[in-house]
Structures are given as structure tokens and as C-alpha cells.
């Protein structure tokens, strides 16, 4: 795969690893949060942590838009899927996301809900055209990366005058979440854990550009390096962060320049802003209510809004009180600090957002970190 394989070269990686080791000051810790599950995935998929010096520690951020979806929104979708007229179209990732009391869309499907997995928003439109006597609802979810395809099909449904297609909008925005983490009392006041810098999203940034992260550098004094998802991209980004820390800089730098620009994809941004607008607040699993962090359909597109069409009531389900996701997402605690980890909460039966997707911090620790702990125990 061109533009992928070159960035997975082991030899170059070894050199980069040495460069990081030599440039990182062994007298201080470097705590970098990778905001994005894509980076978390690359870390575990390629075993990057093994290649970093001990004092360079990666903190797994809110991960992915799927796992931060709160149980209440899943419950709302399940209620929708229980309506006999509704066909609920979802991305495959959503199947196992837990609602309240062990519910999930997978189980709702087993119990008779007409829930269909789609690969693309275009598939949902096709299903609506083929089932004119039914109500087809697309469960839209995703960061800024996944939002433009939703906007595109809402416009398409309008053009095709499809009366049976609506969108249950759950799109979320990354910069407000980053801000929330930085403003968290645990970090700013209690100060138990510091984040020394951010590895910034790759594909989100393709759409929104690097500019939205400048607040982070400016207001919170944290360096940000936008990084591609290939392992060499990440190692370069880590080296760039080490250098900024060493040089007491806090700028937004762009490692992923082959795909990301400062302004992002203008056409995609316009498509989104034509049709969607921020909600006053949106709930994130683990983070709670975050201001201006979610999107909804604009008033002029209300007829495509499933929440309006079906008079859906907002449901709120309290996270399991023992779940430490909030602390973990903010880098304050580690998965093993959670009493539920590995006993009640496992990939097949996730309790919190960090276990839901394989990119979540707890899931990553389950598949990867347990092994590291184990290696370390064996070594000691």
C-alpha cells in the first residue's frame, strides 16, 4: 500500500527510537496524550511503547467517537429500533456499545429490532429508497472526519425528496473535548497528572485543519503535533513533542503535512456548516456534559432529524460509579486502577467507554498492556 508501507519501515523506526531516547531528558517525564484512538491503535498494533524510553509515557485520550457515546444515546437508539416501522442503519462499530443494564444494539437486533449494518452513508440512502413504506434512520456518529459524509447524504435525501429518511445525529467535536480535559480540575487544580503535550488527530485534522488546535497551544501552553496514523508518523510526532518540551515551546506543528493543511478541507467544512450546527452541550461517556461538543441538524433540515420526527426523549444513564473512565480519559488514572478492569469489565462485556472500542485505553490495555505488565512482572 503506497503511502502506508513506507511509513511502517522497521529500520527507520529503530533510528527514530534511538533519536527519541537520545533527545529525551532522562531526568524528567514526558507525558503525551494521544487524543485519537487511531494513534492508540497504532501504539498497540505496532508495539510502539516497547520502543520508547521509560520516561516517555503515552496517555490514551477519549479515543474514538463510538466509545464516548453515552449509554443514554444507545438506549434512545434501541427504543427507536423497537418501533416496527423503523430500519436503523448503523456503522458496525456501534453493535456492541453498551446501553444501560447490558443492553446493546446487537442484543436489540437479536430481540427483533431491524438493525442493519452499513459501510457508508450512501448505503443508508439506498435502503431508504428500497423501503419506502418503512422509516429508515441513519445513526450518525463520528468526529469531524465522519461528519461530512452525513451532511452529504442529508443533502442527497433532500434532493431526492426522500420522505422516509432521517438521521439520529451523534456527531461530536474534538477541540471542545480537548479543552474539557485541559480544564478538568484534576489536571489544573489537583494537578495529580500533567499532560505535557498532545499528539493531534490525523483524519479529523484533514477536515478541520490544524488551526482549531491553536487555542490549546496558546491558552493552555501545551504543544500539539498533528500526526499521521502510521507508526513512523507517530514516532516522528513524539520526537517533535519531545523537542518542543525540551525547548519550552508550545506550538501546533503538523507532522502529517501530506494530508493536513492549516485550513483543512474547505468544501467538507462548508457542507457540514450548511446542514449541521453545534448543540449547547453533549454528553460524552466518561467526560460528562461538554459544552458545544456535539452537532445537530439545523432548523431548516428538521424534517431529516430523527429526534424531532420521532419525538425522541433525551435519555441520561449514569455511568457505572466504579468505572474510572473519566479519570482515565483525563490521564489521571490507569486502567489497572479500576476495580472493574478484567473482572466485570472486559471486551465482551464493556462497562465504560475505555473498554468499548478496541482503541479505548482499557481495551488497549486489555489486549496489549496486560502483556506488558506480564512481561514486566516476569522481568522483575
Amino acid at each position: 500500500m503506497k503511502y502506508a508501507d513506507e511509513f511502517r519501515d522497521k529500520e527507520i523506526a529503530l533510528g527514530l527510537a534511538k533519536a527519541i531516547r537520545s533527545e529525551a531528558d532522562s531526568q524528567r517525564p514526558y507525558r503525551f496524550m494521544e487524543f485519537c484512538g487511531g494513534h492508540t491503535h497504532a501504539i498497540s498494533r505496532y508495539g510502539l511503547e516497547d520502543m520508547l524510553p521509560k520516561n516517555v509515557r503515552m496517555i490514551h485520550g477519549p479515543g474514538c467517537p463510538v466509545c464516548v457515546l453515552p449509554a443514554g444515546r444507545i438506549d434512545m437508539a434501541i427504543r427507536l429500533a423497537e418501533r416496527p416501522e423503523v430500519i436503523l442503519c448503523i456503522y458496525g462499530d456501534l453493535m456492541r456499545v453498551p446501553g444501560s443494564q447490558g443492553a446493546s444494539l446487537l442484543k436489540a437486533k437479536a430481540r427483533g429490532g431491524d438493525i442493519r449494518m452499513v459501510y457508508s452513508t450512501v448505503d443508508a440512502i439506498r435502503i431508504a429508497e428500497q423501503n419506502l413504506e418503512r422509516e429508515v434512520v441513519f445513526f450518525a456518529i463520528g468526529f469531524e472526519t465522519t461528519t461530512p459524509p452525513t451532511a452529504v447524504v442529508i443533502r442527497l435525501a433532500e434532493k431526492k425528496r426522500l420522505g422516509n429518511f432521517t438521521v439520529f445525529c451523534n456527531h461530536v467535536l474534538t477541540p471542545p473535548a480537548m479543552q474539557n480535559i485541559l480544564e478538568s480540575p484534576d489536571i489544573r487544580n489537583i494537578g495529580r497528572v500533567e499532560i505535557d503535550g498532545f499528539v493531534g488527530p490525523a483524519h479529523v485534522s484533514i477536515v478541520i485543519g490544524t488551526e482549531p488546535y491553536e487555542f490549546c497551544a496558546e491558552e493552555f501552553g501545551r504543544p500539539v503535533v498533528i500526526s499521521g496514523f502510521e507508526p513512523l508518523d507517530m514516532m516522528q510526532a513524539i520526537l517533535m513533542l519531545v523537542r518542543q518540551v525540551n525547548e519550552h515551546r508550545h506550538q501546533v506543528e503538523n507532522q502529517y503535512s501530506r494530508a493536513v493543511t492549516r485550513e483543512g478541507n474547505l468544501r467538507a467544512k462548508e457542507e457540514v456548516s450548511d446542514i449541521l450546527e453545534p448543540r449547547d452541550q453533549f454528553e460524552w461517556r466518561g467526560l460528562g456534559l461538554v459544552p458545544y461538543s456535539g452537532l445537530k441538524l439545523k432548523r431548516t433540515y428538521a424534517r431529516f432529524d430523527a429526534e424531532i420526527r420521532f419525538g425522541m426523549n433525551e435519555l441520561r444513564v449514569a455511568d457505572n460509579p466504579a468505572c474510572e473512565c473519566g479519570m482515565i480519559l483525563r490521564g489521571v488514572k490507569k486502567p489497572v486502577d479500576c476495580k472493574l478492569f478484567g473482572t466485570v469489565c472486559m471486551p465482551e462485556t464493556p462497562m465504560g467507554s475505555c473498554m468499548v472500542s478496541c482503541e479505548g485505553a482499557c481495551a488497549a490495555h486489555w489486549t496489549y498492556g496486560r502483556f506488558r505488565d506480564h512481561q514486566q512482572r516476569r522481568a522483575s
Binding site: 527507520i12 523506526a13 533510528g15 459501510y119 467538507a268
Partner: protein, 78 residues
């Protein structure tokens, strides 16, 4: 993680669609979000949409830099 991969555009089709190819796998995608696309361009695709064109010059430059950084690292005596 916004799963997305680089793919080569092999055919432009009507209605903002195109065929892309990844190592012998080809798939029809939407290119509604991209301007000025040509066959031979590489794009990043996500949920069946091209999100951006890859800038080959920037890619070349990044790789060159990676090699340099790596060589610097290799030169380091630990």
C-alpha cells in the same frame, strides 16, 4: 480512530463517484468532498468517501525527514 486509508483513483464516474484501488482491491467511493480530482491521484478514504488528496511532494519530504532523523538517531552512541 476514524479508520481511513490511502487509495489510488483509477476511474472517475458520474455523480461524484470514482473507483479507487488499494493493492488489487478496488471499490467505488464518493468523491463529493474533493475538488479537481484526476485519475492517478491518491486520496484518503473513510466510510466510502475520499476526504482529501495526498500531496505527493509533502509525502516525499516527510519520508526524507524521517530518514534523516533516523540516521541521526542511528549515529547516536548510547
Amino acid at each position: 480512530m476514524c479508520l481511513a486509508i490511502p487509495a489510488e483513483v483509477t476511474r472517475l464516474l458520474p455523480d461524484d463517484t470514482a473507483v479507487v484501488s488499494i493493492d488489487g482491491v478496488s471499490k467505488e467511493i464518493s468523491v463529493a468532498l474533493i475538488e479537481n480530482l484526476a485519475v492517478g491521484d491518491y486520496v484518503i478514504i473513510h466510510v466510502g468517501y475520499a476526504l482529501t488528496k495526498i500531496d505527493p511532494e509533502e509525502a516525499r519530504r516527510t519520508l526524507e525527514l524521517l530518514r534523516e532523523l533516523s540516521t541521526e538517531g542511528q549515529g547516536v552512541v548510547q
